[in-house]
C-alpha cells in the first residue's frame, strides 16, 4: 500500500514584524490502515500541517510524496481530486444541496473509477455513517452538527481515496457525537485500510488513535 512521506517540511509565516517558524524540518511517514492523531495547542501549526498534507496549500520548503511521487509534481488539484479528502471542523458541506447531492457532487469531481450505481453507493455510504434515506434527501442545513459531520465523512469516502484528513472533526460536537465520529474514523482506518490523519487539541480524541504525533515549536514528536 502507498505511504505518505513528508521530507524536510518547513514553513514560516509573518507574525507582525517577526517571521515565525511553524514547521521546522519535519520528516514523517504515514501508513495505510492506521489512525493518526496530530496533537497540539492552538496555533501550534497542526492545521497548517494538515493543509499541506491534504494539498490545500504549499509549504516553503520540503516535499510531500505519496506513493513515491511528489504531490506538487502530480498536481495539487489532481491530488485532492483522486488521492485525498478532508473533513473540516465546520463540516463545509454545500448547504443548498441535500446530503445525497453533496456526495454526488464529490463523486462527479473525482477521476477515480466509481461503480455505475453511484447514487445507490452514496445512499449506502450515508447509511454506513448513520444517515438514513429520509435524512439523506434533506438539505444539509436541516441536519444537526453531528449529522452534518457524518455526511462530511461519508463524502470523504465517496471518492474512493486512501488518504482521509480531518481538521478538528469533533470540535463542534457534543461528547456522544464525538465518540461516534472517532469510532467511524477508527473503523475507516482499521477495517477499510484507509490512512486517516486527524488534527485535534483534545487528548481524549487523540487517545483513540493508533499513533499520536505531538507538534510543538515547529517540531513533531511521536508519543
Amino acid at each position: 500500500m502507498e505511504k505518505l512521506e513528508v521530507k524536510g517540511l518547513s514553513h514560516q509565516f509573518r507574525d507582525g514584524e517577526k517571521l515565525r517558524t511553524v514547521l521546522d524540518q519535519i520528516d514523517l511517514i504515514f501508513e495505510p490502515g492506521k489512525l493518526y492523531a496530530i496533537l497540539g495547542y492552538s496555533g501550534s501549526g497542526k492545521t497548517t500541517l494538515v493543509s499541506f498534507l491534504s494539498g490545500l496549500d504549499k509549504a516553503d520548503k520540503g516535499t510531500i510524496e505519496y506513493d513515491g511521487i511528489n504531490i506538487e509534481t502530480y498536481g495539487l488539484d489532481k491530488y485532492r481530486r483522486n488521492k485525498s479528502s478532508i473533513v473540516f471542523q465546520q463540516y463545509n458541506l454545500i448547504e443548498f444541496q441535500t446530503a445525497h447531492q453533496n456526495l454526488m457532487t464529490a463523486m462527479g469531481i473525482t477521476d477515480n473509477e466509481l461503480p455505475p450505481n453511484s447514487s445507490d453507493i452514496a445512499y449506502n455510504l450515508l447509511d454506513f455513517v448513520g444517515i438514513g434515506k429520509t435524512k439523506a434527501d434533506r438539505k444539509v442545513k436541516m441536519l444537526s452538527g453531528g449529522e452534518q459531520q457524518r455526511v462530511a465523512i461519508a463524502r470523504s469516502l465517496a471518492t474512493n481515496v486512501d488518504l482521509v484528513f480531518a481538521d478538528e472533526p469533533t470540535g463542534n460536537l457534543d461528547s456522544e457525537s464525538e465518540r461516534e465520529i472517532i469510532k467511524l474514523f477508527k473503523t475507516l482506518a482499521n477495517q477499510y485500510n484507509k490512512c486517516v490523519i486527524l488534527v485535534t487539541h483534545s487528548d481524549q480524541v487523540a487517545s483513540s488513535a493508533d499513533k499520536i504525533l505531538r507538534i510543538n515549536d515547529g517540531k513533531i514528536n511521536y508519543e
Binding site: 478532508i86 463545509n92 454545500i94 443548498f96 457532487t105 471518492t159
Partner: protein, 440 residues
C-alpha cells in the same frame, strides 16, 4: 454529478436570485428578439411587396397613341432566383440604368456600327437636327441605339429610323452588312470588328407625337433644362412600339441594401390595351418559370406598404438607439449582481476547489447557470414579442412574421455573448479564491 447538473441544482435551490436574473434576462432578450424580428420583418415585407403586393400599372400620356402605359414587374425574390439557378449567372450583366441602352454616333451616310454592338439586336436613331442637340454625341449626326433585351430571340435584327432608311435607300425586310463585334463586350473594351448581316425588322418615325413634345416641355420646365427632342422621342418612338405586346426580362446582379449580394430580374410590358395585363402575367410566368402571385391594380399606389414599412423602421430606430445602450447597462448590472452573488458563494466554491474541482469546470458551472436562466427567459420572451409584433402588424399593415427560427438563433447568440461578458469578472474572482483561507 457534473457541472451542468450542479448548475441546475443551484438555479432551483436559489430561486430568489435566479428570479431576479431571470427578469433582467427576460427584458433584455425580449428587446434583442424584437430587434431581430423587426429587422427580419422589414426585409420580408420589402420582399413581399415585390412578390405578392399589388403591381401598379402606369398610364402615361407621353407614350405613342396606340399605347396606354406599362407595367414593370420586379422579381426580386433573390433567394429563390439564386436557389433555382435557372439562369446562367455568367450571362447576367452588371447593369446600371445607363448600361441598358448605349449610344454611339456616326456621320450621315456612314453606316458603320459601334464596336460595342450587342449581339441580340440594335436600332439606329437618327438625330434630326444635330447642331441644335444639347447632347455632344448627338451633334455628330446619326445615332445608334442598341439594346440587349429587345430582341433576345432574334439577335440579327435591326430597327432603323425612317430617315436613315431614306438616306440609304433601304426598306423593312432588307438586309445590311455592318462592321461589328460578334460578341457582346464591355463598353470600354476594344473588340475586333467583323462584318455581320442584319435584317431590318422595322422602322420608326422621326416625328414626335404632340404628347411627347408636351411631356418633354413640361419636364424641361419643371427641372430647368432646355427641351431636347432630338433623341428622347426618337428612342421612345422606336423602342416602345416595337416592344409593345411582348414582355422582356432584364436580369441583373449586384449588391442590394436589404438582401446583400443578389441577383434579380424585372420584366417590362408596354400595354396596348388593358387586356394585355393578363398576357403579361402569362409571359412573365413563362420567362421566369414561376407563378406570379400578384394582383395588378390600375389605381394602386404604393403608399400602403410604405406606411407599414415606416412603422417597422420606427420600431427599429427606437430599438437601435436604445438596444446597444440597454445591453451595455444590462451587462454592467448583471456583472455586478453575479459578482455579488459569487462573493456569497465563496464557501461553496472553496468546497469544490477542496474536492479537487478544476477552476475551468467551476467557471462552466457559473456559465451554465446563466445559460439555463437565459434560455428560460428567451423561451418566454420570444413568443411574447412575437404576439406583440403580430398585433402591431395587423394594426399597421406590415407583414406578420410567423414563427421563425432565424431571429431566435440570432437572439440566442447575443444572449450567449452577454453571458460570456457578465461571467468574466466573477470568473477572475473565482480563480483568485484560496480554499485554505475559506475553509480552514
Amino acid at each position: 454529478m457534473n457541472y451542468f447538473k450542479r448548475a441546475l441544482i443551484h438555479v432551483k435551490a436559489n430561486l430568489g436570485k435566479s428570479l431576479l436574473i431571470f427578469i433582467i434576462f427576460l427584458v433584455t432578450m425580449g428587446a434583442v428578439s424584437t430587434a431581430f424580428m423587426t429587422s427580419r420583418m422589414y426585409n420580408k415585407t420589402l420582399e413581399q411587396t415585390f412578390k405578392d403586393g399589388t403591381v401598379p400599372v402606369y398610364v402615361r400620356n407621353s407614350y405613342p397613341d396606340d399605347l396606354i402605359g406599362n407595367i414593370t414587374y420586379n422579381w426580386n425574390d433573390y433567394q429563390e432566383i439564386s436557389s433555382q439557378q435557372k439562369f446562367d449567372i455568367a450571362e447576367l450583366e452588371e447593369v446600371e440604368s445607363s448600361d441598358i441602352s448605349m449610344y454611339s454616333s456616326l456621320k450621315p451616310g456612314q453606316l458603320t456600327m459601334p464596336n460595342e454592338m450587342l449581339d441580340y439586336g440594335l436600332s439606329i436613331n437618327y438625330v434630326k437636327d444635330p447642331e441644335q442637340s444639347v447632347s455632344e454625341e448627338n451633334k455628330e449626326a446619326y445615332q445608334f441605339n442598341y439594346d440587349k433585351e429587345l430582341f433576345k430571340n432574334n439577335p440579327q435584327s435591326i430597327i432603323l429610323n425612317d430617315l436613315i432608311l431614306d438616306e440609304n435607300n433601304l426598306e423593312v425586310g432588307d438586309t445590311i452588312v455592318l462592321d461589328i463585334n460578334s460578341d457582346y463586350s464591355e463598353v470600354e473594351s476594344i473588340p475586333e470588328l467583323e462584318e455581320q448581316e442584319f435584317t431590318i425588322v422595322g422602322s420608326y418615325s422621326a416625328e414626335p407625337t404632340q404628347a411627347m413634345i408636351d411631356n418633354e416641355n413640361a419636364n424641361a420646365e419643371e427641372y430647368g433644362f432646355e427641351p431636347d427632342l432630338t433623341f428622347s422621342y426618337l428612342y421612345t418612338n422606336a423602342y416602345i412600339p416595337l416592344s409593345a405586346g411582348k414582355s422582356y426580362l432584364k436580369y441583373y446582379e449586384g449588391v442590394d441594401q436589404q438582401n446583400g449580394e443578389a441577383i434579380g430580374a424585372s420584366a417590362t410590358y408596354y400595354l396596348k390595351s388593358l387586356d394585355d395585363v393578363s398576357k403579361f402575367k402569362t409571359d412573365v410566368e413563362a420567362l421566369t418559370g414561376t407563378q406570379v402571385e400578384v394582383e395588378f391594380d390600375l389605381n394602386s399606389e404604393e403608399s400602403e406598404t410604405a406606411e407599414g414599412l415606416s412603422v417597422i423602421i420606427g420600431i427599429q430606430s427606437i430599438l437601435n438607439y436604445f438596444l446597444l445602450f440597454g445591453v451595455v447597462v444590462v451587462i454592467v448590472l448583471l456583472t455586478i449582481l453575479i459578482t455579488l452573488f459569487i462573493r456569497g458563494r465563496k464557501k461553496e466554491i472553496g468546497i469544490m476547489v477542496a474536492l479537487g474541482e478544476t477552476k475551468r469546470n467551476i467557471y462552466f458551472q457559473l456559465v451554465f447557470e446563466q445559460v439555463i436562466i437565459m434560455s428560460l427567459a428567451t423561451i418566454l420572451a420570444y413568443p411574447i414579442c412575437l404576439v406583440i409584433l403580430t398585433v402591431l402588424s395587423s394594426k399597421f399593415g406590415f407583414l406578420a412574421l410567423g414563427l421563425t427560427i432565424v431571429p431566435l438563433i440570432q437572439s440566442v447568440i447575443v444572449g450567449v455573448i452577454i453571458i460570456g461578458l457578465i461571467t468574466l469578472i466573477p470568473a477572475i474572482y473565482t480563480l483568485r479564491l484560496q480554499p485554505k483561507k475559506i475553509l480552514l
